[in-house]
C-alpha cells in the first residue's frame, strides 16, 4: 500500500464524516419536528408522519438510495450521487430519530407542562424552556446511538458511486490484490470517528449535570 493509497482512504474518511455530519445535522431537527407533530396529534399530519416513519423504518437504506437515484431522474428530478446519498441518509435517520424524540416526549410529565401553562407561558416558550431541555437529556443516548449507526451505514452509499472509507479500501484491495492492509486502516479510522461522537455525548452530559448542581 502506497502513501497515495493511505491518502485515498483519508479522503474517504472526509467523505464519511461530512456526509454523516450533514445527515445528522439535518436529520436531527426533522426527527424532532416529526415527533412533535405526532405528540401534538396534529390532525392529518400526525397520520402522515406515522406512515412516513413506519415506511422508512421498513425500507433498507440501500434500497431507498437506489430508488431515489434511479427513479427520481425519470420523474424529472435530476439527482447526483452526493445529493441522493444525503437525501437517503436524512430520510432514514429522521425516521429513527423521530421515535427516539417521541419516546422522550411521551414520558414528559404532563403536570410540568400544565404548570408552565398556568404561569402564562406561550407554547413556544413552554417548548423552549420546559420541554426541550428535558427531552434532550433523555433522548441523547438514543440519538447518539442512532448517529453512530448512521456513520457505520455510510458504506452502502458506495452503490451510487460515493467513495467513503470502505469503498476507498475496496478499491485499493482490488488494485493491489491485498485487501487486508487497506481494511485494517479503514477499521482503525471508524473507531476514532465514533469515539469522538461518544466523547461529545459525555461532554454534554457532564455539562448538564454541572448545570443542575449549580441550580
Amino acid at each position: 500500500m502506497s502513501g497515495g493509497d493511505i491518502a485515498a482512504i483519508f479522503q474517504g474518511a472526509v467523505v464519511t464524516v461530512s456526509l454523516s455530519l450533514v445527515g445528522i445535522l439535518i436529520g436531527l431537527p426533522i426527527g424532532l419536528g416529526l415527533a412533535l407533530v405526532r405528540w401534538a396529534n396534529v390532525p392529518i399530519a400526525a397520520g402522515i408522519v406515522t406512515l412516513y416513519v413506519s415506511m422508512l423504518r421498513a425500507t433498507p437504506l440501500v434500497t431507498l438510495l437506489l430508488l431515489l437515484f434511479f427513479a427520481l431522474p425519470n420523474v424529472g428530478v435530476p439527482i447526483g450521487p452526493i445529493s441522493a446519498a444525503i437525501v437517503a441518509l436524512v430520510m432514514n435517520t429522521s425516521a429513527f430519530n423521530c421515535e427516539v424524540w417521541r419516546s422522550a416526549l411521551m414520558n414528559f410529565p404532563k403536570d410540568q407542562y400544565e404548570a408552565a401553562q398556568s404561569v402564562g407561558m406561550r407554547a413556544a416558550q413552554r417548548f423552549r424552556r420546559i420541554v426541550l431541555p428535558q427531552i434532550v437529556r433523555v433522548s441523547l443516548p438514543g440519538l447518539v446511538n442512532e448517529m453512530s449507526l448512521l456513520i457505520k451505514v455510510t458504506p452502502v452509499l458506495a452503490v451510487v458511486g460515493v467513495v467513503d472509507i470502505t469503498r476507498a479500501a475496496v478499491r485499493i484491495g482490488s488494485e493491489t490484490y491485498e485487501p487486508l492492509p487497506p481494511f485494517l486502516v479503514a477499521v482503525a479510522l471508524y473507531a476514532p470517528i465514533v469515539f469522538a461522537l461518544v466523547s461529545l455525548q459525555r461532554w454534554i452530559e457532564r455539562r448538564q449535570v454541572a448545570a443542575e448542581a449549580a441550580a
Partner: protein, 282 residues
C-alpha cells in the same frame, strides 16, 4: 369523536394513495427513454466506469486508470462533445445505463443473450474466454475433470455465473458435476477466499486471471471452462446512433494500432482477430 374518525379515514385514504404511488413509480421509470444522440451532443456524453475491475478499470492513488480509462482519454480527443465520467461499483452500472442515468457503460460487460434484451453492445474490446484459477500449492487440481465437486467462487449476477452450466456439461462427460457455487459481489473477495481455502477455484475471464497470476504467484491459471465470450461497452437498447459513434471510435483505434498497443499494455497480449459484432449463444 367524529372529527377523530374523519382524521382516521382521511389518513387511511392517504396511506392507500401513498402505497399506490410506490407501485406507480417503477412503472414511470420503465417508460422513460435514454437520451438521444442529439441530446448527448448538446449536454455531453455521460460514461460510467467501474472502480475495482483491474485491468479494465481501477483506481490507483485516487486516479482512475486501466485499459478502458486510457481509451476514455482518447475518446475525449475524438469526440466533438464533452465526456463526463461517473465511477461507481458494478452493481449500479448496467441498471444505470438501461434507465438512462448514464449513456454508456465503458467497462468489460460480457455480451449475453439476457443482457441484449435491455442493452446494445459495441464491438468486443477483448477476448473474455472463461478460465479457472487455483492455488498453486493445490496439487489435487491439474485438469478440468479434477474440478468435479469442488467449491467454485464467481461474481454474483455475472455472465461467468450464468455460463457455469457449460463447465457443468464438460464435467458431466467424465461423470463429474459442479460443486458448491459461492457468489461474491466482486472478484477481490473471491480471490481472497481462494487464497484462504474457502473455495477451490475461481472462474473469471482469461484477462483478469492473467493479470492476477502475474501479480500474485500463489495462484495458477488453469484451462478454459467456456466457449467464446467477449466483453464490450453497453448502451441502452435502441440507441443506435450512439452505438455507431462508439463503434466508429473503436474501429479507428484498431486501425491506428492504438487498440492493440493498449491491449498489450494492460492484458499482456493483443487480440487482433476480435469480431466487429458478436451474437451470443448464451
Amino acid at each position: 369523536m367524529t372529527s377523530y374518525l374523519l382524521v382516521r379515514s382521511l389518513s387511511r385514504r392517504l396511506m392507500l394513495g401513498l402505497l399506490a404511488s410506490q407501485f406507480a413509480l417503477p412503472m414511470l421509470a420503465g417508460r422513460v427513454q435514454a437520451a438521444s444522440f442529439d441530446e448527448i451532443k448538446k449536454r455531453g456524453l455521460i460514461v460510467a466506469t467501474e472502480d475495482d475491475f483491474r485491468p479494465f478499470e481501477f483506481v490507483k492513488d485516487g486516479k482512475p486508470t486501466g485499459f478502458d480509462n486510457e481509451l476514455i482519454e482518447d475518446l475525449r480527443k475524438y469526440a466533438p462533445f464533452e465526456i463526463k465520467q461517473e465511477i461507481l461499483p458494478w452493481t449500479g452500472i448496467l441498471a444505470g445505463v438501461s434507465t438512462g442515468k448514464y449513456d454508456v457503460a465503458i467497462t468489460a460487460a460480457i455480451i449475453t443473450k439476457e443482457r441484449k434484451q435491455s442493452l446494445d453492445f459495441t464491438s468486443p474490446i477483448a477476448d473474455a474466454t472463461h478460465y479457472y484459477v487455483k492455488r498453486k500449492d493445490d496439487k489435487s487440481i491439474s485438469s478440468i475433470k479434477d474440478l468435479n465437486g469442488k467449491a467454485v467462487g464467481v461474481q454474483a449476477g455475472s455472465a461467468l455465473l450464468a455460463r457455469l452450466p457449460e463447465l457443468g456439461a464438460m464435467l458431466a462427460k467424465d461423470n463429474g458435476k459442479l460443486g458448491k457455487i459461492v457468489e461474491y459481489t466482486s472478484y477481490p473477495e473471491a480471490y481472497q477466499d481462494l487464497a484462504l481455502g474457502r473455495v477451490d477455484y475461481v472462474v473469471n475471464t482469461v484477462i483478469n486471471l492473467k493479470t492476477l497470476v502475474a501479480e500474485k504467484p500463489v495462484f495458477e491459471l488453469g484451462q478454459p471452462v467456456s466457449g467464446k465470450s467477449f466483453p464490450a461497452w453497453a448502451v441502452a437498447k435502441g440507441n443506435t446512433d450512439l452505438l455507431a459513434f462508439l463503434n466508429g471510435f473503436i474501429a479507428k483505434e484498431k486501425e491506428t494500432g492504438r487498440f492493440a498497443e493498449l491491449q498489450k499494455k494492460w492484458f499482456g497480449e493483443a487480440f487482433p482477430n476480435l469480431p466487429v459484432t458478436f451474437e451470443p449463444e448464451f
